[in-house]
Subunit: 416 residues, 2 copies
């Protein structure tokens, strides 16, 4: 496949490929200077961006877009300033490129070093939030990658303005042309991106379950899967009641629309404080969907079906199931979990060890809220998403996860 | 998708999934005991395996299979003993499962550990060599993974006998049933494997370019791409003549049928010893395919076309191109290379630095033969292949590359 096979994205991908050859060799200070210049340009030219955004919001509102989606789409001077700050914060993070991951001198004297290098050309497919345009461009550039950004049609005027500001500043600061490009918002441009093997090194979807599903099943380009979180909190028989209540409430209600919030509560049948726990959830406004035992423990619990176990509610709903023992909780998580974040509240070291060993997920949280699975909370700085796949990177994706490695083998005429 | 959607492989995949839940928690000593038992059983029951193999070889010979392929298919008592030894050697390698890759205590007191865990269910698709059956099973088990093996139809009797011996010994030693399974050799079983998202965690092809191409373009299951090596040796103007000759000859002729042998020689136009270099290659039996400058430097060089630059010969053929400068070599490699192994012979530190920074490949070899890109040479012990992709693992795939990670986050009632 060559660039000519992709009418919508081929030219941008070919320029990005050329840009990537330069980006991989740029020193950190050049990349950092560009990030600062991009942040300054966003503030200086905020009016352009806000005007474009107002047109997007107006058009979306005229189409009857619900207010919650309009809010995600909307930029304000404070939000523009926020994304500019995020670019500046990238300057403070260490550049992963050039890190020596492993090194040794072999018995024959060959010097072996495994060195981090950029991935190359990274495609990001995302939905309405225009802040992703800036975040993704910044993360890719800091890690030496070229970025092909495919945002939603509803934000296309905003994204066009943002990318114009960013690319002009970046090029003036010494980055190669084509380092960041916005792809057409046509539906077909996603299809091209997913087939552009050899032109694009990796595609990362950021958005809802249906977008992610399309990308992971259709793509011939390697994908880093992010985001779907059907997360559980298991309350063991050994759990402290107050700790269990605090962690369950926090996991469910701290912010309901995010992938690391909890969707299902699993409770050991010997937990005597189940009625109090369900009352606390109900008082916090949570609609409960439970099995027979949960419904017997609290009035007003709706009957749960398999669909409840399978659903990432992203709302103030929670499924509740009483399990016979810890293996029962592990079986439930193995069947229904999405491999994102699974929490246990327990005081038994054996229960904690069995849960930690038995759960297959990006993160296992012991006596802590599921909400801690987050690049910022983990101290990684910015993140481009949370990977729920097993290859390459699992969990929060920081700058090192946007790199590959090369083995550099240095000899003095070595032959076999 | 569930196991019922896959008539040829679904039942084995479902058993492998169950086995993987047990395998991930087994201590190293149990896995090592199973590897020893498998090695012993192979020696004890070598006659069964050799009889099955004789039937495969006879059938293949009757079909007119060329001797080189028959040789790959053929087992001898010495070869059986060799694969048994390979299993024993795995015992000596460290178990990657449980390794703490990264760990810290966060400001809020949360303890963060990133721990290696098995991938789960690994599918291997491979061609005629029956030793892959044993190697792949051993590598997967040592790293706590269940293995679904899809070998070629021509080796199916041999593979069936091998897997019967291996699984019986493994189960007797305490591994769960279903840990290793041989899939039907039908063409359709590969298609099922490549679509078994959720049942299979990763597919690794081991074989020729067409097999790899089918797997990487068709698979909906994440793939680790291995093997195609269109490798170059670049001889810089600063190269020592004797060193250049030794490295070029070794890279090309040490073993021609493997992915880390060199296919194209790139020579700086100021290299005065080009005629002597080409004479040495011709005297070693290499058929040369060159551009005009190469043809002018040596008699009998065939004219090279783009197809020569693109071809992984895997034979005593070599393409030769004279380049104006080091950027010319980088451009050629960027256009035609497969991202496997690229070597430079040079004495100039600047040339070495520019080459190392500018080449995007799994391995860059400085004053050393391309033949060193190898798990054994790198000191990793056994390898399941050499990855030429950028995600997850690049270069020789040892045991750590057959794992994923989980973040284990331990608090004492932490909430956000």
């Amino acid at each position: 496949m060559s660039a000519d096979d992709f009418p919508l994205i081929g030219a941008a991908a070919a320029r990005a490929r050329e840009a990537a050859r330069v980006l991989r060799t740029l020193p950190t200070e050049t990349k950092d200077a560009a990030l600062v210049a991009m942040a300054e340009a966003l503030l200086e030219r905020a009016d352009e961006v806000l005007a474009a955004n107002a047109a997007d919001v107006e058009a979306a509102a005229a189409d009857g877009t619900p207010e919650s989606v309009l809010d995600r789409l909307r930029l304000t001077p404070a939000r523009v300033s926020g994304v500019a700050d995020a670019l500046r914060q990238l300057v403070a993070l260490p550049d992963p490129v050039g890190d020596v991951v492993r090194g040794s001198t072999l018995a024959n004297g060959l010097q072996l070093r495994q060195v981090r290098v950029p991935l190359g050309v990274v495609g990001i497919v995302y939905e309405a939030r225009p802040n992703v345009t800036v975040d993704a461009a910044g993360l890719c550039l800091k890690s030496g990658n070229a970025a092909l950004l495919r945002g939603s049609a509803s934000a296309h005027r905003t994204n066009t303005a943002l990318v114009a500001v960013l690319t002009e500043a970046a090029e003036k600061a010494g980055l190669p042309a084509g380092s960041v490009a916005l792809l057409p918002a046509d539906r077909a441009s996603v299809g091209e991106l997913l087939n552009a093997r050899g032109l694009v090194d990796v595609v990362i979807p950021r958005g809802g379950a249906s977008l992610i599903q399309r990308v992971v099943t259709e793509s011939r380009v390697p994908v880093i899967e992010t985001g779907v979180g059907n997360c559980h909190v298991y309350v063991d028989a050994s759990a402290d009641p107050a700790m269990a209540e605090a962690i369950v409430l926090n996991s469910k209600t701290h912010r309901v629309s995010v992938c690391n919030s909890a969707e299902t509560l699993l409770v050991h049948r010997d937990v005597a404080f189940l009625p109090r726990l369900l009352t606390a959830l109900a008082e916090a406004g949570v609609t409960l969907h439970g099995d027979d035992a949960a419904r017997a423990a609290h009035d007003g619990v709706l009957p749960a079906t398999d669909e409840d176990w399978a659903t990432e509610y992203l709302s103030l709903d929670m499924a509740v199931r009483v399990v016979d023992d810890l293996p029962g909780a592990l079986d439930h998580i193995s069947r229904w979990g999405s491999g994102h974040s699974e929490a246990i509240v327990a005081d038994s070291a054996r229960a904690i060890a069995d849960f930690t060993a038995g759960v297959d997920a990006a993160a296992v949280l012991v006596n802590a809220s599921t909400r801690f699975t987050d690049g910022g909370e983990f101290g990684f700085g910015a993140e481009i998403g949370i990977s729920t796949q097993k290859l390459h990177a699992r969990g929060p994706l920081g700058l090192p996860e946007l790199t590959s490695t090369t083995y550099v083998v240095t000899g003095s005429g070595h032959t076999r």
